[in-house]
């Protein structure tokens, strides 16, 4: 079994294998990534940094493409699940 690391997604602790991307952690947590401009829930579409649907807030930095960022121990991820943060 690969080494597990733990991070926070919307204040909830989530464990993933080392090397997993933040998009994986959000999906494992059963959450979506962002709310669209009309309020629809959205998750990863392209998986390769093109579509921007997987944007989340990571350690305070907004609009991070979660499919291209690796999880780090103690990372604090916030999705727009309950309108956690306003998109610009």
């Amino acid at each position: 079994m690969p080494e597990q690391i733990t991070l926070m997604v919307n204040g909830r602790s989530v464990s993933v294998a080392r090397g997993a991307t933040v998009a994986v952690a959000v999906t494992v947590a059963g959450m979506h990534c962002r709310n669209s401009v009309t309020g629809e829930p959205r998750g990863p579409l392209c998986g390769m940094g093109i579509c921007f649907e997987c944007r989340v807030e990571i350690d305070g930095a907004l609009h991070q493409r979660s499919c291209q960022i690796l999880c780090a121990s103690g990372m604090n991820v916030r999705t727009n699940e309950q309108g956690n943060y306003k998109t610009i």
Binding site: V16, S36, V37, L45, G47, M48, C51
Partner: protein
């Protein structure tokens, strides 16, 4: 605080997939000082994602060969603009990189074509390659029920990968007709390597339903995908699933080539025998010149790398094998042509531009990409039309306009490093656009 990195290369390669890696290796073997830049954390591109650490794979031989040849890799770095003659600007999470070159090889790869249908914006509806990428990046799919749909050989590769990771593949829906697939299968006889791949896939996929003439018409769910409606000819079938992996073949990433003034033809970057584009000092290899698969990308990369490093003699020796693989590319295009019924998939209320939530009903009131963009903001969100552009090209026959910098959203601080130059100089720098 962003730190600045400045590098000068004989040959700079943009894109770390097979074409870029083979170009970088070939140029480095000629003694050139080579750099390779890619926006992922590891080299390998989409097809070789995660292969660098798999010592037995052919991919690891290519990828790990780079450091031995002194190639400098810049990963998790995205090229956003050209900031001077033969100089690109790239940014990482905490660096701004000014990358200069004598010769540039663009190996920017391809992305999936997505077609809108009701419910396609639900979470867990994603690209075929996208679900594969997530699984290779650690998403557990053991016991999950997955429908794979769309068109092209990628669907089979994805099915095989997901099954190995324990997913239950409910069905593979291929929009191409049985007759078209049969012709394509027959044409494979001329390519022993492709037959071996096909046979091995067939073994991997035994027992999975593969249905031609079949495509998704609606995804249903409360906040997340729960059920799919599939069309099979005139029949309709409902199926419950956890994920839909759906892509309609590939479209080339031509944003950077366009920005640098490379001439396109039929949507692909035009190159000569030595993979030279119409822009001075700029070469292009792999999918941006035509969707041809792994082997063709490797050969094109080698030719581009050798030619960029000045060894046209050895580059010339590879022309024959490239010509052979290019014939295969034509067969691929033909077999997986999108059927006209797919144009009827979106309903008036179906969202087409996912960044700005512009519906098909709204878009179809306009005559061109530009008119729709100016009035509705479609194609003006962060993806800059990378998703809705290829969709409206198929649905409405629109051609997206010229590319404007920065080609990806960039930090203000990065944009601040762009020198203040006169518009005329800027146009001249962009070549013959």
């Amino acid at each position: 605080m962003n730190r600045e990195i400045t590098r000068q290369f004989d040959v700079l390669v943009v894109g770390g997939g097979p074409a870029g890696i083979s170009a970088a290796l070939s140029a480095a073997e000629q003694g050139a000082h080579v750099g390779i830049v890619d926006d992922n954390h590891n080299l390998g591109g989409q097809i070789w994602r995660g292969e660098a650490t798999n010592c037995t794979s052919a991919a690891s031989h290519w990828i790990n060969g780079l450091s031995g040849k002194g190639v400098e890799s810049l990963c998790a770095a995205r090229v956003v603009d050209q900031i001077g003659p033969n100089t690109l600007l790239a940014e990482t999470a905490d660096h701004i990189c000014e990358l200069s070159y004598s010769k540039l090889v663009l190996a920017t790869g391809a992305r999936e074509r997505f077609l809108p249908f009701p419910g396609w914006t639900l979470p867990n509806v994603m690209g075929a390659g996208a679900l594969q990428a997530l699984v290779k990046s650690g998403l557990p799919v053991h016991g999950k029920r997955v429908v794979i749909a769309g068109t092209g050989p990628l669907l089979l590769a994805v099915a095989s990968c997901l099954r190995k990771h324990g997913a239950k593949i409910a069905i593979i829906c291929e929009q191409a007709s049985r007759a078209s697939l049969a012709r394509f299968g027959f044409s494979l006889l001329a390519y022993p390597q492709k037959i071996r791949q096909a046979l091995s896939l067939r073994k991997d996929l035994s027992g999975i339903r593969f249905v031609p003439d079949c495509w998704p018409v609606a995804a249903i769910g409360d906040g997340v995908l729960e059920q799919l409606t599939l069309a099979r000819g005139n029949d309709v079938e409902n199926i419950s699933c956890d994920y839909l992996a759906c892509g309609f073949h590939l479209v080339p990433n031509t944003e950077l080539p366009s920005l640098l003034g490379c001439r396109l033809r039929d949507g692909f970057v035009e190159v000569d025998d030595f993979q030279r584009t119409s822009a001075p000092d700029v070469f292009c290899a792999g999918e941006p010149t035509g969707i041809g698969g792994l082997e063709l990308s490797l050969v094109e990369g080698q030719i581009a790398g050798l030619a960029a490093a000045g060894n046209v003699g050895d580059a010339h020796k590879l022309f024959r094998s490239r010509a052979r693989l290019q014939k295969f590319k034509k067969k691929l295009d033909h077999a997986f042509t999108l059927r006209p019924e797919l144009k009827k998939l979106p309903q008036p209320e179906t969202i087409v531009c996912r960044c700005e939530d512009v519906t098909y009903g709204t878009l179809s009131r306009y005559r061109s990409w530009r008119a729709a963009k100016l009035r509705t903001r479609s194609g003006m969100g962060p993806c800059q039309g990378r998703v809705c552009g290829p969709a409206t090209e198929f649905l409405l026959g629109w051609t997206p306009d010229s590319v404007r910098p920065p080609i990806f959203p960039a930090r203000l601080q990065s944009l601040g490093t762009i020198p203040n130059i006169e518009p005329a100089q800027y146009e001249a720098m962009r070549g013959n656009q």
